[in-house]
């Protein structure tokens, strides 16, 4: 095989420009014109529909629309009117451009972007001349104050970096729970006795504080606890964790140890706690051990006991930070 035969194909060039029907057929052009006019008329009708719906369609009428279902007539026709009025202006304009506007192919040559040497020299000369005339070199007061203001402008965004702090301190490791703090219902803020919970029951719990109306959401996000009652013989806990329960009542932090969602989907039959965000599943009888999902460690268990008046109270604060991991967290 010689080199001659391997020569690349020759450049076929641009295909011949085919003109549209409307370019040479007067009847087709008329048809296209009418089509565009109809599209613009539809837009005008849309606006009329919008105005009509706004003024005359009552707001409490509901109509059935296939697929969408029952919807409010006022809102529906407002939306349809506005959609028609905007959409058909666009469709009409595009159809106009595609069928009737000039259809000539033009070749425009590309040039180098760089300006010619003379133009560049001219510009430099004129900048130098005008800067001298403005007196930047002479009026040093203006020059310095301008420098000062520009420098200070740069300070503002740097100052805003202060919002990255202050350090949270012990906020991440401490909750409101402490020895003797009463468990109260959320919402309702009622104290609970052990006999208030049947086997298989759950209760959503917050620590009792003096003024529940002023409970901060930040505190709720750390203090929320789920109280579960089951048969004491179903527990498979070590002696220490068993001593943190009371007659089958066990309390866990409701804040997921993965990303901090509220873990509260308790399945009474399987005794699994499920986190709705990433499906971490915790096994309650074994102390909320992770049996499925991305969470890395069990939910912190709150030690509870019964006070002298017979109410459920915390026996100790949480023995570890609640919620997701952070840099300084031990373990």
């Amino acid at each position: 095989m010689s080199n001659k035969e391997l020569e690349p194909l020759s450049d076929p060039g641009l295909p011949a420009h085919a003109h549209r029907k409307a370019d040479h057929d007067e009847a087709a052009a008329k048809r296209a014109e009418r089509k565009v006019a109809i599209l613009f008329m539809l837009s005008a009708l849309g606006t009329v529909l919008f105005i009509y719906s706004y003024i005359w369609i009552a707001q409490d009428i509901y109509v059935y629309v296939p697929i969408i279902g029952t919807s409010n007539a006022h809102q529906l026709f407002l939306g349809l009117g506005l959609t028609f009025s905007l959409f058909f202006i666009g469709v009409g304009a595009v159809h106009w451009a595609k069928t009737l506007m000039p259809d000539e192919e033009v070749i425009a040559q590309r040039h180098e972007m760089r300006s010619s040497d003379e133009d560049r020299a001219d510009l430099i000369a004129s900048v130098k001349e005008n800067a001298g005339a403005a007196g930047l070199g002479r009026r040093s007061l203006i020059k310095r104050t301008l420098g000062l203001s520009l420098g200070l402008v740069g300070l503002s965004p740097i100052l805003l970096l202060r919002d990255l702090g202050p350090q949270p301190g012990d906020d991440l490791t401490k909750t409101t729970w402490a020895e003797g703090v009463h468990l109260v219902t959320d919402p309702g803020n009622r104290r609970l006795r052990p006999e208030d919970l049947e086997v298989g029951a759950v209760a959503h719990i917050l620590p009792e504080i003096e003024n529940p109306a002023e409970r901060s959401l930040n505190d709720v996000a750390k203090d929320a606890v789920l109280l579960i009652r089951m048969r004491p013989e179903d527990f498979r806990l070590d002696a220490e964790k068993l001593s943190w329960t009371y007659q089958g009542i066990i309390a866990f932090s409701k804040i997921c140890s993965h990303m901090g969602c509220a873990v509260a989907l308790y399945e009474q039959q399987t005794k699994h706690l499920l986190c709705p965000c990433h499906q971490s599943t915790f096994d309650v009888p074994t102390g909320a051990k992770v049996i499925f999902g991305p969470s890395a460690r069990p939910l912190p268990q709150l030690a509870i006991k019964v006070s002298e008046e017979g109410y459920l109270v915390a026996a100790a604060p949480f023995n570890q930070p609640v919620g997701p991991s952070f840099w300084e967290r031990k373990k």
Binding site: R20, K21, A22, Y62, V65, I67, I68, G69, T70, S71, N72, Q75, L76, V94, K98, T99, T185, D186, P187, G188, R190, L192, R193, D196, L197, E198, V199, G200, A201, V202, A203, H204, I228, A262, A264, L265, Y266, E267, Q268, Q269, T270, H272, L274, P276, Q279, T281, F292
Partner: protein, 265 residues
């Protein structure tokens, strides 16, 4: 006479006669049985007949799984102490008897009518004390409920499983929390006090009866809410809405882009 003998010889005659005879005998027995009950029976007598009836239905329909003494079997829990409310919920909503051994009993057309369900409930209630069926006097949620309070309680206690708008949601391994739309107030109340299937119990001390009424009132208000735009997409939130937005909306934009670039002829 000839006509009659011809009729007698026809094939269908014997079964038809037998059928008629059975109906007559059956009705006669029913009539006699009905007249046997003395008109002077006291309320407690009626009650014990109801319990007896319930026991009969139980032995026929439930005992094969729940045991002859309702003490549970290998595949079904004991019913001692579950109370009348439990039976009314499970049987009244058609969940029991189970249609098959799938992950979860679902709501279907009830198999037993109201009287049979009441009799069953009365029987199970005699086994051990348990939650009673809430009467109409207890379900005064229209009067005693507070919608705003109910919404707050619902969001803390129910929304994680039943969805923030009560539409139901998924649990683990094929189980799910059913939708609360269209569920009668009585059954919602019974579910809270008995904790059917995966659902935990929400006792009267953790959530007071008045608070329960508020929650029911809130659920009913959500049910009555009319969607302004229609197409609620199951009210399950941003996933379905995003799907429709991306597939429908972006699809439409692609179609328009294709149309824009086609050359007109």
């Amino acid at each position: 006479m000839r006509k009659l003998s011809r009729l007698r010889r026809r094939k269908i005659t014997a079964p038809v006669l037998l059928f008629l005879a059975l109906i007559i005998v059956g009705n006669a027995y029913a009539f006699i049985g009905a007249t046997v009950t003395t008109p002077g029976a006291t309320a407690s007598n009626a009650r014990s007949t109801m319990v007896d009836e319930g026991r009969q239905i139980f032995l026929r329909g439930c005992a094969s799984c729940h045991g002859l003494n309702a003490d549970g079997g290998g595949i079904a829990p004991a019913l001692i102490g579950v109370g009348a409310a439990s039976v009314d919920f499970q049987v009244g909503t058609g969940r029991m008897p189970l249609a098959d051994m799938s992950q979860q009993a679902m709501r279907k057309k009830p198999l037993y009518n109201e009287e049979e369900t009441a009799a069953l409930a009365a029987y199970v209630a005699t086994l051990a004390p348990g939650p009673a069926i809430p009467g109409a006097a207890q379900l005064t949620f229209e009067r005693d409920g507070n919608t705003a309070e109910g919404g707050e309680l619902f969001r803390t206690n129910c929304a994680m499983c039943h969805n923030a708008a009560g539409q139901g949601g998924a649990l683990t391994q094929g189980k799910y929390a059913p939708t609360l739309m269209g569920v009668e107030a009585k059954y919602i109340y019974e579910a809270m006090i008995t904790g059917p299937q995966s659902m935990p119990v929400f006792g009267d001390k953790a959530i007071t009866p008045q608070e329960k009424l508020s929650m029911i009132k809130w659920i009913k208000s959500v049910e009555a809410e009319k969607g302004l735009g229609g197409a609620s997409l199951g009210k399950v939130g941003p996933v379905t809405e995003g799907l429709v937005g991306w597939v429908g909306g972006i699809g439409l934009l692609i179609a328009i882009a294709v149309w824009l670039t086609t050359k007109s002829r």
